[in-house]
């Protein structure tokens, strides 16, 4: 089945002075995706997102959103996008309701009080609608930030580091909200983050960038399951086990930590061999498991 593409960026390049912030980034987002945009701080995530939103003009490369080139179609494209870029900054001296009302007006739409209250309810802020934003916690501002992306019922929502600085409950709330928007309301989302665990929990596709370049792009589950993964093993005779393993698997770098856990990056299938070797040499294997997270994957490739 051919999936409908919503965003296609090709060969994006951006310099700030002599520094190359983005170096030939390509990415494709399909309708219905929760598309993770991953990379360490300073890798070029925010710059790329700002280019998608016409806040920054690329030096070269092209962007098509909703099958339209961004150049010359800024207003049309932005009317279908809701975005929260970095910190959720609002007019602190105005209420949450008034902020949303003003932002809706800037979008050129007439929004009823009921519609704004419904959006505030969606993000759990209906009871604080008349409170000044300056009284809000960071988590509440973040939720209000997501609320403002929904004002004009966009097809595509772009959230730049939406869980930055939130406590665990706040992170869980935002995660549930993102999934709800995707599953129940059919929104396509691009979410940038350096918190990999979150991406693993919500994204179906992702791109990893580092130093302004794409390292890999694809399906999250496929990316996690491919290549080397970290093995952790606890044996009855750790020093003896380590010597044996190093002798047998010369190309693998086995390390032992302070808890006497032996760790190594191994290819899929090698775990079974390792287990058999130790058992055949009368070393009891108490624990053996593979770390199978995006974080490990990310650390391996960046």
């Amino acid at each position: 089945m051919v999936q409908e593409t919503m965003v296609v960026a090709t060969g994006l390049v951006k310099h700030f002075g002599p520094q190359k912030a983005v170096d030939g980034i390509d990415l494709t987002v399909h309708r219905g995706d929760i598309y993770g945009f991953l990379g360490p701080n300073g890798s070029g995530k925010s710059t790329t997102i700002r280019m998608l939103l016409s806040l920054i003009k690329p030096d070269s490369g092209s962007i098509r959103i909703f099958d339209l080139p961004v150049e010359g179609n800024r207003a049309r494209i932005l009317s279908g996008i809701g975005a929260l870029i970095e910190r959720p900054d609002f007019y602190q001296y105005l209420s949450a309701y008034k902020n949303l009302e003003i932002l809706a007006s800037y979008s050129g739409i007439k929004t009823s009080r009921a519609a704004i209250m419904k959006i505030l309810d969606t993000v759990g802020l209906a009871d604080r609608a008349s409170s000044h934003v300056k009284t809000f916690s960071h988590g509440m501002k973040q939720r209000l930030g997501i609320a403002q992306t929904l004002l004009h019922d966009p097809e595509l929502i772009i959230l730049d580091e939406p869980v930055n600085g939130l406590d665990p409950q706040g992170i869980k709330d935002i995660r549930e909200l993102i999934l709800k928007l995707n599953v129940e309301e059919g929104k396509t989302l691009i979410i940038s983050s350096h918190i990999l665990r979150e991406m693993e929990l919500i994204a179906n596709r992702m791109v990893v960038i580092n130093k302004g370049k794409v390292v890999v792009e694809g399906d999250v589950r496929e990316l996690i399951s491919q290549g080397s993964r970290k093995l952790v093993l606890v044996a009855s005779k750790p020093d003896q086990a380590l010597t044996l393993l190093r002798h047998h698997f010369v190309s693998v770098d086995f390390q032992i930590n302070r808890l006497d856990e032996i760790q190594a990056l191994v290819d899929s299938g090698q775990a079974e061999e390792i287990n058999s070797l130790l058992v055949n040499n009368n070393i009891a294997v108490r624990q053996l498991y593979m770390l199978n997270s995006l974080e490990d994957y990310f650390l391996n490739i960046t």
Binding site: R76, A83, R87, D89, Y91, I102, Y106, S107, G108
Partner: protein, 278 residues
């Protein structure tokens, strides 16, 4: 566009910053009026003591018009500072507070947004001058009676009471255009900055520097003086000449409007090409 201007006005007047100017003008006018009420006659006697030896001056020369004329001189420095505080914050304030990201990710044209902000800044400047006029001529009536007015400039002009009001209305009108230049200048600096203080200081620095050049009688500055807006900020005084030199007034207004246009066009040029990284 009207909706955008309405939104900008709403944001402006939801903040305390906008009211600083109004309070300051109220205090400036009040202080001058109280001072003139208490000590004004002595001051005027000192100023016209040489005239009194030649002319017989009868009637109340310290009246609401004389004091308003003195207040109009505050257009030189005080009102520009108040105008620059708000105009300098119009764009840079949004950048500094991070709200530009919210605005510019909405389907609103950058040029239209900038025009709305520019017009809002000019409306604010207009409101300040109108308040100055209302306070001077209105509040002034609580302290002073109307009467004939004496103006000491290059020559001595004495205007009858019936001939004064239109001159003040025209002068305040000219003052509004002068303040539009200051607003446009601060606005231009605001487009490039990410904090509010920089544009205010920059605009004031330019104003002070150009004022010095405009008033410094050194030959090397003479060729540039006709092109500096500061050479025309005090053009409101031309309405207190007799006869009024309208040719000079039109020329002065032309230079001021040219400055406003250039400052505005450069602001648009910068803003529409600017990367929003704040």
């Amino acid at each position: 566009m009207i909706n955008l201007i309405r939104l900008e006005m709403l944001k402006l007047f939801s903040r305390g910053l906008a009211y600083i100017g109004f309070v300051a003008i109220f205090l400036i006018v009040l202080v001058i009026q109280v001072g003139m009420y208490v000590e004004g006659q002595k001051l005027l006697d000192f100023l016209i003591q040489s005239l009194s030896e030649v002319f017989l001056l009868l009637g109340k020369l310290i009246n609401v018009y004389t004091v308003t004329y003195i207040i109009l001189n505050s257009l030189w420095i005080h009102i520009p500072v108040l105008v620059a505080i708000v105009a300098g914050d119009m764009v840079s304030g949004e950048a500094g507070r991070g709200t530009f990201r919210l605005l510019l990710t909405r389907p609103v044209s950058r040029t239209k947004l900038l025009v709305a902000k520019f017009i809002t800044a000019q409306v604010y400047a207009t409101m300040l001058v109108l308040l100055l006029m209302a306070m001077s001529l209105g509040l002034g009536r609580l302290f002073f009676e109307p009467g004939d007015m004496i103006v000491l400039m290059n020559t001595i002009n004495i205007f009858e009471q019936s001939d004064v009001m239109w001159r003040f209305i025209a002068s305040f009108g000219y003052g509004i255009v002068s303040m539009w230049v200051i607003a446009a200048l601060a606005f231009l600096f605001s487009v490039r900055a990410t904090n509010s203080l920089g544009p205010v200081i920059s605009a004031m620095s330019v104003l002070i520097l150009f004022t010095i050049i405009s008033n410094f009688s050194v030959g090397v500055f003479e060729p540039v003086k006709p092109f500096l807006f500061t050479s025309y900020l005090n053009g409101w005084q031309l309405f207190f000449d007799d006869p009024v030199d309208y040719g000079l007034i039109y020329k002065a207004l032309g230079v001021l409007i040219a400055h406003i246009s250039v400052f505005y066009l450069v602001s648009v040029l910068i803003f529409t090409r600017k990367d929003i990284t704040s």
